[in-house]
Structures are given as structure tokens and as C-alpha cells.
């Protein structure tokens, strides 16, 4: 369970998050939509502590993310993150990319880590690319590699930051399919996304972000079928 | 009666003038060698880039030699070889010859890299507009490639300026040699070396900083 209360975030004097209250129960798939620059990605970074916050609290499974004594590295093992630009490690093969963190963070033996890695790469459909370097993989494959890398840590939550926005159109499908698979398997997911089909078909709830606040949060049917806020209506008509 | 001859005297203001003149001589041999070396190096780089003529194939390895043998060895060799073939060059001219060739070999690589950095697409665009080969070279390749390799060229130029200190082994009295002479007389190595170091620093640092700001301006 992730609980967010009164979250405020500034970049210098610019306020990006203006008081967020949000609960994400285990097993939920939450999609976050909204215009660029509305603070969606920043919210994700505040959840796993990659960005500091100025007010409010973020509690993950009972632990305050931003408290002074929190072991943030331990907490991050519970939260997997997939970035827009995948950020695969170019100097390691696919297998090594996925096996590294289980080995050095969780302390698994090299053989055990490689087993886990192979299994996760199989899981995302890259079973035949174990010993390939990221430079030889397409964007979609590298993104799936990034998903496998996050999954190898056996997280309770997966955070997706516009995972498909940097991909060529024909590669988007394979990544969305992987994310759909994870949702069906019961993973708790928070997805910042522009892919409305995914938000509509796969999510349990959709949150609409506008200028640093959650303007509306509801089931996909209500968000897309009967949007209440004016900004949301405008947003949806723009993307149609 | 006691007759004392003092060979050593302390550092005097006239010595500062002496060092300044020596610094000027460093500058002189540097500017001369860098100018000749850059022109030659540009020419060699262009020849290697175009890949025409057997000269281009032999030029690369030949210039490579000048980068693979210590400069001091090159200076000694040339200075001792020149009389053999009847060339009686003083230390200054020997230094200029070797430093120019050394500079040319470094600039050739830099120049070739610069031309290659411009890229076929841009040159094709220029030619398809009707420019001749030389117009393309002058208006497209040189400005663009020149900007790309300017920082490297400054590095080479400053390197040659610093390496000019080696010509002192032939007897040319530039800054470092002058420092040695003063040290022998005044027995104040630290003071003199600090002053000489300040001169070298003053010759090199501002130029490299200026080049860095130019580069920043050009790439933004």
C-alpha cells in the first residue's frame, strides 16, 4: 500500500506538485494521464525517493520514504522503476544487466542471479537475447530489458514513467503487451502514460493530472466516458 | 691583500628584462613553427583525406614517425645530420624546421579529422547547389570542420609552444635556457623557475581558456 499525503514539490521557486493526496492499494493498476509538464513523472520520482520533497509524506508499506533514518536502498528494492529512456547499462549484456542488482544488492550468488535474470528475460520475451549487448537491441527490446531488470528484484510495486513515449510506433505494442501481462499477473502498477488505450483497458483507476494537482481520479469508464472537469474534457478532446 | 672574485650575484631587475626577452624568443620560435606547421599540416591533412595519389598513402606513416620519436631526439638528430648534407643551420633554424614538421604531423591528423567531421551529406548538398569542389571546400568544409577541430588545434599549438623549450638543448636561448643561465649565476633556482613558470603559464593559460569559451559559444 502506498499512501501519499499533502505532497508538495518545488524545483527552485517553481512549484510542480501542489498538494497530492493519493492511496494506491496492493494489486491496483493506476494510470496517470495529463499534459506534459503537469508533474506526473515528478510524482513517480518522489515515490521512490529519486527526488526530494518539500512538504507532505510518502509512505510505502508503512515506511516513510523521505524520513531521515529510512534505508532508501532497501525500500527501492520493493519498487521497480521503468524509465522513458530505458537507461540500460551499455557495457553489460542483457543477462548481466538483469542479474547485476539481484547479485550485488540482494546478495544472491552469481548462478542464482543469472537464473532469475534468464527467467525474467524469458518472461518479457527476450529469452533468445541473453548474451546480446543493448546496442544491438531495438528500443522496444531495450525497454523490455529494462522491465525484466526491474522485475528481477521481485518488487511489490512497479512504476512506469512514460515507458512507451520514446519508442517508434511499431515497437510500442510489444512493450504495452508486456505491461498488460504484468497487470494480469496481479502486479501493483503506477503508469504515467500517454497511451489512452492502455489506460482505458488495463487500469483499475485513472488519475488526471493538471498543473500539479490530481483534478479527477476515477474508474476508466467514468474518466473517459463522463469526464467531469473542464480541463479533462479539453484534454480528452485534444487527443481524440 | 685579498682579492675576491664573486661569480655569483643575486637576482637583479635587469634579469627580469632578460627573462622577458627570452620569453619573447620562445614566442617567436613558437609562432613561426606553428604557422608553418599549420599550413603544411592542413595541406597534408587534406591530401590524406582525399586519399588521392600515392603521396597520401605514404604520407600517413611518414608523419607518424614524427609523432613516435621524442622531440629531443629529433632535434639532436637533425642538428647533427644537417652538416652532413651540407646544411649549416643555427639552433634557431634547426628548431624551426623540426618544430614545424612536428607541428605539421599533429595538425595533419587534426585537419583530416575536421574534414571527415563535416560529413558527406553536407558536402553533397553544397555540390548539388552547383558549387565547385574548391567552393565547397572553402565555404562549407573549412568553416564547419575548422570550428569542429579548433579546440584540438589550440591544444596542438600550445603543445608546440611548450615543446619549444626543448630547442634549448641545441643552444637556442629561449625562456628555459635563459632561466638555467640565470640560475647558474644567481644560485636562486626556485625564484627564477617560479618566474619562468609564471611566464609560461601566462602564455598558455589565457589562450586555452579563450579557446574554451569560443568552443562553448560555438556549440550552443
Amino acid at each position: 500500500m502506498i499512501e501519499i499525503r499533502g505532497l508538495e514539490k518545488y524545483f527552485g521557486t517553481l512549484q510542480v506538485l501542489k498538494g497530492i493526496d493519493l492511496d494506491i492499494p496492493k494489486g491496483e493498476v493506476l494510470s496517470i494521464i495529463g499534459a506534459s509538464g503537469s508533474g506526473k513523472s515528478t510524482l513517480l520520482y518522489c515515490i521512490n525517493g529519486l527526488e526530494a520533497i518539500q512538504a507532505g509524506t510518502v509512505t510505502v508499506a508503512g515506511t516513510d520514504v523521505h524520513a531521515k533514518g529510512t534505508d532508501i536502498n532497501k525500500l527501492r528494492q520493493k519498487m521497480g522503476m521503468v524509465f522513458q529512456q530505458w537507461n540500460s547499462f551499455p557495457h553489460l549484456t542483457a543477462l548481466e544487466n538483469v542479474a547485476l542488482a539481484p547479485q550485488i544488492v540482494k546478495g544472491k550468488s552469481k548462478a542464482e542471479a543469472r537464473d532469475i535474470a534468464a527467467k525474467q528475460l524469458e518472461h518479457v520475451g527476450l529469452g533468445d537475447k541473453l548474451h546480446v549487448y543493448p546496442s544491438a537491441l531495438s528500443g522496444g527490446q531495450q525497454q523490455r530489458l529494462a522491465i525484466a531488470r526491474a522485475l528481477a528484484m521481485e518488487p511489490d510495486y512497479m512504476l512506469f514513467d512514460e515507458a512507451t513515449s520514446a519508442l517508434d510506433p511499431e515497437l510500442v505494442g510489444e512493450v504495452l503487451d508486456t505491461m498488460r501481462l504484468l497487470a494480469e499477473e496481479g502486479m501493483t502498477m503506477i503508469c504515467v502514460t500517454h497511451e489512452m488505450s492502455f489506460a482505458r483497458d488495463v487500469s483499475d483507476r485513472v488519475a488526471f493530472f493538471h498543473q500539479g494537482v490530481i483534478e479527477e481520479i476515477d474508474t476508466p469508464e467514468n474518466i473517459f466516458g463522463s469526464p467531469k472537469s473542464e480541463h479533462l474534457q479539453k484534454f480528452l478532446s485534444n487527443i481524440r | 691583500m685579498e682579492l675576491t672574485i664573486s661569480f655569483f650575484s643575486g637576482f637583479q631587475p635587469s634579469d627580469l628584462l632578460y627573462l622577458t626577452q627570452a620569453a619573447w624568443r620562445t614566442l617567436l620560435i613558437s609562432i613561426l613553427s606553428i604557422s608553418i606547421g599549420t599550413v603544411l599540416g592542413g595541406l597534408f591533412g587534406w591530401m590524406m583525406y582525399e586519399g588521392k595519389w600515392a603521396a597520401a598513402l605514404t604520407l600517413g606513416p611518414l608523419l607518424d614517425v614524427f609523432r613516435s620519436v621524442p622531440l629531443i631526439i629529433q632535434l639532436v638528430l637533425f642538428y647533427n645530420f644537417a652538416p652532413i648534407i651540407g646544411l649549416n643551420l643555427d639552433p634557431f633554424l634547426s628548431g624551426v624546421v623540426i618544430l614545424s614538421i612536428y607541428c605539421a604531423s599533429l595538425v595533419a591528423n587534426v585537419a583530416r579529422g575536421g574534414m571527415e567531421a563535416v560529413g558527406q551529406p553536407m558536402r553533397r548538398a553544397a555540390r548539388s547547389l552547383g558549387m565547385t569542389y574548391w567552393q565547397d571546400l572553402r565555404y562549407v568544409v573549412l568553416p564547419i570542420g575548422g570550428r569542429a577541430v579548433f579546440p584540438s588545434w589550440v591544444g596542438v599549438a600550445l603543445g608546440v609552444m611548450k615543446d619549444s623549450a626543448l630547442v634549448s638543448v641545441l643552444g637556442y636561448i629561449e625562456l628555459l635556457k635563459a632561466s638555467q643561465i640565470l640560475i647558474t649565476r644567481t644560485q636562486e633556482p626556485l625564484l627564477i623557475l617560479t618566474i619562468a613558470g609564471a611566464f609560461y603559464f601566462a602564455l598558455s593559460y589565457p589562450i586555452s581558456r579563450y579557446a574554451a569559451t569560443l568552443e562553448k559559444r560555438w556549440t550552443s
Binding site: 551499455p90 557495457h91 542488482a101 544488492v105 | 621524442p70 652532413i84 628555459l176
Partner: protein, 220 residues
């Protein structure tokens, strides 16, 4: 044209001595590279992450090393320090001067390398739960190494070439040995010509070795 009689035989008889001195050259170049890498890395990290007097000192080291001639630095550590009572053997003087110089140049290379890695790499590593130390040693440093590999090789070649300056402070590496032998027989040209060839071969071996090592280390 050639009134000069070339006498090569004494040189070839001394070849074993020259080659042994060549090994000394390699040894001192390698040692100064090792020290240069250690200190250079430290200097780069200090300049990137610290403030205050320590950062100022590190910057002073780097800028002095890069903006003054290597020969000047050699004289400073040899004669300059000698004046205040710090006397070192020629070997140590050359080692200190070369290491000082290498560290300065390498510090800039390392800094450029670190800055070339996008900090999204750190984000990705930290988001997996890696500590800062793990992120640096497993993810950042291997990538930096790849970027600075070519400059490192060039610096090694440079160290070999600049070690020849040791002959001016009485150090018997390759050039110093050549000088000693040549002055005994007055066959200066012949001796230095052979030495030039030895240097060329050493440099070529280093470049070849470096390229082969690269294909094994960097398969991406």
C-alpha cells in the same frame, strides 16, 4: 654530398645496452602512468565534487601541469626542489615530474569522461536499490574507462616520449644511455638514429598492444 663516413658497428655492439635502457624507459613510463591514473582520478573527483581549498589545490595542480612545459616541470622538481634541500636521485626526479604531468592531463580526461555519462544511468542504478558506491564502481567507472581508454593510450605514448628528457638530469633511460655512449665515441648521429628507431618500435608496440587489449575488453 656525403663526405661523412657512417660508423654503425659500435652502435650495434652496444645494442644490448640500449635495449636494456629501453626497458628502463618502459618501466618509468608505466610507473608514472600508474601514479598518474591514481592521482588523476583523485584530482578529477575532487574538482567535480568538492569545494574550498582542496578544490583550489587540485585545480592548481591540473592547470600548472597542463600549461607549463614538461621540461620545465622536470627542472623544477630537480633543481628547484634541490635548492631547498630536497635531493632526489635522477630516477625519482623523472618519476615525480612525469607523474605530476600525467596526473594533470589525465584528470581532465577523466573529468570529461564522467561528464559524458548521463546521470540517468545513476538514476537507473539507484532505482534498483544499488548504493552510491555500487552505482559508481559497477556502472559509471566501467563506462568512463571505455571513454578515456584512447586518451590513456596516448598519454602512455606521451610518457614514453617525454621520459627522454631524463637525459638532461642524468637519468640513464634510453636517451640518457645513448647520450653517454655517443659522447664516448663521438658517433652522435649514428647512435641517436638507432635510438630513434627503438623509440618508434616501442611506441608501435604500445599502440598495437592497446588496440588488441581494447578488442578483448570492449565487446560492445
Amino acid at each position: 654530398m656525403f663526405d661523412y663516413n657512417f660508423h654503425w658497428r659500435p652502435v650495434f655492439k652496444s645494442l644490448p645496452d640500449l635495449l636494456a635502457a629501453g626497458l628502463t624507459t618502459l618501466e618509468i613510463a608505466a610507473l608514472s602512468m600508474v601514479l598518474g591514473i591514481i592521482f588523476g582520478l583523485g584530482l578529477a573527483l575532487i574538482r567535480m565534487h568538492m569545494r574550498g581549498p582542496l578544490k583550489w589545490l587540485a585545480s592548481a595542480w591540473v592547470e600548472l601541469a597542463r600549461n607549463t612545459p614538461a621540461l620545465f616541470q622536470l627542472f623544477f622538481f630537480g633543481f628547484g626542489l634541490g635548492a631547498v634541500g630536497i635531493h632526489m636521485s635522477p630516477y625519482v626526479i623523472v618519476l615525480v615530474a612525469l607523474s605530476f604531468n600525467c596526473a594533470g592531463y589525465l584528470a581532465e580526461n577523466f573529468r570529461g569522461g564522467f561528464q559524458a555519462i548521463p546521470d540517468t544511468q545513476i538514476r537507473a542504478a539507484r532505482s534498483l536499490g544499488m548504493t552510491a558506491w555500487q552505482s559508481y564502481t559497477r556502472i559509471i567507472i566501467p563506462q568512463v574507462f571505455r571513454i578515456v581508454y584512447h586518451p590513456l593510450t596516448n598519454q602512455m605514448v606521451w610518457a614514453v616520449l617525454m621520459s627522454s628528457l631524463g637525459m638532461l638530469v642524468g637519468f640513464r633511460e634510453l636517451s640518457g644511455e645513448t647520450q653517454a655512449l655517443a659522447s664516448r665515441t663521438y658517433r652522435i648521429f649514428e647512435y641517436f638514429a638507432v635510438t630513434a628507431v627503438i623509440y618508434y618500435v616501442i611506441v608501435k608496440i604500445i599502440l598495437l598492444g592497446s588496440r588488441m587489449l581494447a578488442t578483448r575488453l570492449f565487446r560492445y
